[in-house]
């Protein structure tokens, strides 16, 4: 089997997150693969619908939950539209896990601040659940999550669950004008809410993922709070085809996002050419 041949996975569950974002829970059709499949938070894969092609997403479920993986996607292109057509029981392809990962064991004993925008919560959610599944290994957990409107918030049930946990500080926000009459969260852009939340940088790291503009304005806020560049992690995305450092699409300077990333510290990103 060459490296481009995927595992087959079966759709076990379909969850609509928003009007155009959906989560698929996928189980490996081969029990032996399911048994040995392992990954780390932050890694990604190439998901495919046979006949439509492949598409790159992070693995949105945590490695602490075995036997399945999840991916969340917006239907935009040919493959994601085909993925949206899939029902429970349908078979698709998956190759992975690829790329590097968040250095979780090295963060044991620290506080973690998660900052996410829009569907950028998908890769962060993997880390959140990983951390929560090993809750006693971490100190404070703060989550700041925002979307344009209430309708654009993904993983709503999980947000509710996190909000109820005493061991999680959750801040949800929507852009001004995106609120509904019964919205109980914040109204404002993510960087401003991070400033309000003001998580302590003491013994803490930040995990940031979202639209480039959100990241751009969040980084200075985190820095002001005392997070140094080497303690801010983000996950980059670029168009990919192979996922394994060959097809030449995803590089930023000499960094191949698919192999050297997708997880980078802000310090590593600052050293890259401004081309993302």
């Amino acid at each position: 089997m060459n490296v481009y041949q995927p595992f087959t996975v079966r759709v076990a569950e379909v969850t609509d997150e928003t009007a155009d974002t959906r989560t698929l829970k996928l189980e490996f059709t081969d029990p032996a693969v399911a048994e040995r499949f392992d990954f780390r938070a932050g890694q990604f894969g190439e998901y495919s619908v046979f006949g439509a092609g492949e598409c790159t997403f992070c693995i949105a479920s945590p490695p602490t939950r075995k036997g399945y993986i999840e991916c969340s996607f917006k239907s935009v292109g040919k493959v994601t539209k085909a993925m949206r057509e899939l029902n429970v029981g349908d078979v698709m392809g998956f190759r992975g896990p690829y790329g590097n990962h968040f250095p979780l064991p090295s963060l044991y004993g620290k506080s973690v601040v998660f900052v996410a925008g829009g569907i950028g919560l998908a890769p962060v959610r993997c880390v959140i659940w990983n951390v929560l599944d090993l809750r006693d290994k971490f100190k404070d957990v703060t989550i700041v999550y925002g979307a344009r409107t209430v309708a654009d918030l993904v993983y709503k049930r999980e947000l509710e669950e996190w909000g109820k946990r005493p061991d999680v500080k959750l801040w949800t926000t929507v852009d001004p004008g995106g609120e509904t009459p019964d919205w109980k969260g914040k109204v404002g852009f993510v960087p401003a809410i991070v400033e309000q939340a003001a998580p302590s940088a003491r013994d803490a790291v930040a995990v940031v993922c979202g639209p480039p503009i959100m990241i751009k304005f969040t980084l200075p806020v985190l820095k002001k709070l005392g997070f140094t560049d080497d303690r801010i992690y983000t996950t980059l995305e670029n168009r990919m085809k192979c996922g394994i450092g060959k097809c030449g699409r995803c590089n930023i300077g000499h960094v191949y996002v698919c192999k050297d990333g997708p997880v980078f510290t802000a310090a590593e990103m600052a050293a890259l050419p401004p081309e993302f």
Binding site: P6, S48, T80, V91, I244, G245, C247, R249, H254
Partner: protein, 350 residues
């Protein structure tokens, strides 16, 4: 270095022996329009050695323009069966490869093999013996000497033939695979001779190429690192049409696309196809955002990938100085000129 001698007629004979042994033989041969390209030869006479630079490089024998990765078949109950594409393992010998083309193949082993092994590539690599013919220097677009190579480089070759006059070649055995080829057809090779003639040929060729080639590319790296946004890229890319002719003829451009092609209802093939960084489609995100948003960014990517990115990542140049991109460009872009320009800028900056 182990060497031997072979005459032109024995080289032809070797091709005949190989074909008789059902080994595929490829090399420069004439296309229907009279131009030379690397082709599979049905008979030794089809090979035309030292006839100029073949249109496209040798890479298509190792990374074909299109190749199947696997096929799928949907069965009862939605079951999907994946049928692996057989690994290409037919033994083959390339006769008369240009050293710059052979060097490109070896350079690509790095990206094809880091961490994940590209089996179709390496299957062809292992099954293929490359017999190169030292080049006398072709035209003013040649710049192998600027990228650390030479018209007689042995990099990537299993056997290097160097003309020694009288239609004979001194054959230098570069690899074990080359030695096996010599050992398998002992009647075609004679004891080594013509060392002085070979050396003279090599020296003259190096001098010829170096005379018109731009300054060495290696020392340009610090300047390029420091001038990512230099106006050079805008000026240099004005005439670029954004086609992929340069990538198509390049011995080292290896970027590819992966596509699904349904064949009947429920069956189809996933293929990999050549692609190029010169089109907007190559890097555009699903959101519409494109990190390489205009032609200057894409030209920069091509140049940097070759002389900065790949060397940083894999320790060697992704350009063998074959000059094909300059020859093929319909807009008159010229890599030697761009490098000379960068060298002038870098020199002035010091």
């Amino acid at each position: 270095m182990n060497a031997t001698t072979i005459s032109s007629s024995d080289l032809s004979g070797l091709a005949a022996d190989l074909l008789a042994a059902r080994v595929r033989v490829a090399g420069p041969a004439r296309a229907s329009d009279g131009t030379v390209e690397y082709r599979h030869a049905g008979a030794p006479a089809e090979l035309v050695l030292d006839s100029g630079v073949p249109r496209r490089s040798l890479k298509e024998f190792f990374l074909p323009p299109t190749e199947p990765l696997f096929a799928w078949r949907t069965g009862a109950g939605g079951r999907v069966e994946l049928l692996e594409a057989p690994l290409p393992a037919d033994p083959a010998v390339v006769i008369g490869a240009r050293p710059c083309d052979a060097a490109g193949i070896e350079a690509l082993d790095k990206v094809m093999g880091w961490d994940y092994r590209d089996e179709p590539w390496f299957a062809r690599r292992e099954a293929t013996t490359i017999v190169s013919l030292a080049c006398a220097g072709f035209d003013r677009s040649c710049m192998c000497t600027s990228v650390g190579l030479a018209p007689d480089t042995t990099k990537g070759s299993d056997l290097l033939l160097v003309p020694i006059g009288g239609g004979a070649f001194r054959a230098e055995v570069v690899t074990a695979k080359g030695a096996r080829l010599v050992a398998a057809y002992p009647a075609r090779f004679r004891p080594a001779s013509g060392e002085a003639e070979a050396e003279a040929f090599r020296k003259a060729a190096r001098e010829k190429v170096a005379a018109s080639a731009p300054p060495a590319a290696d020392p340009l790296r610090p300047w390029l690192d420091a001038h990512f946004d230099h106006p050079l890229w805008r000026e240099a890319s004005l005439r670029c049409h954004g086609c992929g002719a340069c990538a198509a003829v390049c011995p080292t451009c290896h970027c590819f696309d992966i596509v699904d092609e349904p064949e009947t209802v429920g069956t189809g093939v996933r293929r990999r196809n050549w692609d190029t960084c010169q089109t907007p489609r190559f890097t555009i995100h699903a959101s519409g955002h494109n990190p390489k948003n205009d032609q200057p960014a894409r030209i920069r990517q091509r140049v940097l990938h070759k002389i900065v990115i790949y060397p940083k990542k894999f320790g060697e140049m992704l350009c063998t100085g074959c000059g094909r991109c300059s020859r093929a460009c319909p807009g008159g872009m010229d890599l030697p000129e761009v490098l000379a320009r960068i060298a002038a800028l870098a020199g002035g900056a010091q």
